[in-house]
Amino acid sequence: MTSLLVLFFTAVIALFAGLFKKRQWLQPLALAGTGVAFGIALVDINTSSAFNERYASMLQFDTYALAFTVVALLATALIFGLSRWGFRELSDTLGDNYALFLFSLCGALCMFSFTNMVMLFLGIEILSIPLYVLAGSRRDDLKSNEAALKYFLMGAFATGILLFGIALVYGSTASFDLHQIHAVITANGHSPNMLSAGILLILIGLSFKVSAVPFHMWAPDVYTGSPTMITAFMATVVKTAGFAAFYRLFSTAFTGAGDFWEVAVAMVAGLTLVLANTTAIFQVNFKRMMAYSSISHAGYLMLAILAAGQPGAGGALLYYTLVYSIATVCAFACFLLVSEQNLDETFTAFNGLSKKQPLIAATMAVAMLTLAGIPPTAGFFGKYFLFTVAFERYPWLVVLAVINAAVSIYYYFKVIIAMYFSPEENAYEVKIPWSIRLTLAAGLILIALLTLMPSSVYNLI
């Protein structure tokens, strides 16, 4: 709760700092705000304060919520680390950009901690509405405009479906409170048709938000069209928030409501894995490849939803989202450097990078290996935890996931091959600002720590 308030007031101060043209204060302010919120969340993980308990019927910052808060804050802090360089061309809208990032993060915190479906809905909207604006923040770029419009229309459509589901669940259980809904469902022993329809509609609405197949059509276009800084935020914080909310809702309220939603989730997960990975193979644009990669990771994360409520499922989700977020931010940071100085968004931009900038190439290689889940990296442990929790009940899905993880190695290695084995084609210089050096170093240290001690994160929830 305190983290949420800190982030909110930092966002308001950022708005005013932008208004009074204090450009140079904005990045330190945003970093300080996320840092303070991060510290508070870490302290709160082991203690329960009366202040938090007072709002427990709406927002409960338990260990689960605080752990995901830490994930989202780490990803955001890394993105803010890039922002001095990433936002260098913005002039009058810089303060608004920082404020919108922070407001969106407030929504993510609501999605981690809700105990009432009203807060779930408000959290999703607080997360999404600033992002519609951010996706279109390059006002004269047609691609950015198109991304914003598509994101807005699909997001609003998904909200409508989610709300209809919430209304149906309310009609059949007479409550928005997750624990009361669960009590009604277990007391009835079976779920009436209206409740089942409601749960399925909520499932569809949330699948839109986490971009799972067949509700993923918007994601590649929006990820490609948005400015790279915003794409990095969408691929990490939004994905984490979507899955944390998904897991919290289904593990708290809907366990015992019947097998039908598990079958639906299993179908969505299988489709997501197969379609996203096969489509990613054919991409030539790096951002579009990362969009399909992010969709395929949604498929792996669905395995944790299937195991909702079982011991270890929450921990597996937490570890996977943390590793995925950090690796994705590192990959986008390297891509941002290369593509903006080379004006090329395809894989050829990386040709011969290892000779010009060995450090950037090495970071990118680590990020790609982590995302692919090659054995010694943290990505491997993440996939291992997810596969273990889901294997008992859905062995066929885990086999499918393993095959698809093997397929994904192909497209992640395309980048590594371009960096290390392709001849240098164009004679452009890649300069690395010190702020990006620091951010990448922080990202690499985090990945190394996660690789060395996976169980300390996994056992947290």
């Binding site: 809905f121 006002r139 405009n145 198109e146 409508g160 309310y170 069209g225």
Partner: protein, 106 residues
């Protein structure tokens, strides 16, 4: 007042709001004009509002009606942002036809 609402069975409210919701969904899926799509999204949200109000009355529970207020506020915020985005797109492309926006297809 509440008795007047309850003279109509709850099923009818559910059917009516489901019908409105479906009209909204089909509108979003088939219309080309972005403004009409936005109107269809609003129709979906208002179908939900109608259903929540009906459920709230029948269950004698206020939570549903409070949710309606939240949905109205969010719908207003969404419409403000959405119309802003539409104005931006219209300035650059001179059209609101969503099928004309295909720069990102490959």
């Amino acid at each position: 007042m509440l008795d007047v609402i309850k003279t109509i069975p709850i099923e009818y409210y559910v059917y009516l709001s489901s019908l409105l919701f479906c009209i909204g969904v089909f509108g979003v899926l088939i219309r080309r004009n972005a403004i009409v799509v936005l109107m269809c999204v609003e129709l979906m949200l208002n179908a939900v509002n109608l259903m929540l109000a009906a459920f709230s009355t029948y269950l004698s529970d206020e939570q549903g009606q409070i949710m309606v207020f939240f949905i109205m506020v969010v719908a207003a915020a969404e419409a403000a942002v959405g119309l802003g985005i539409l104005v931006m797109v219209f300035r650059n492309t001179k059209t609101t036809d969503i099928y004309k926006l295909d720069k990102l297809k490959f």
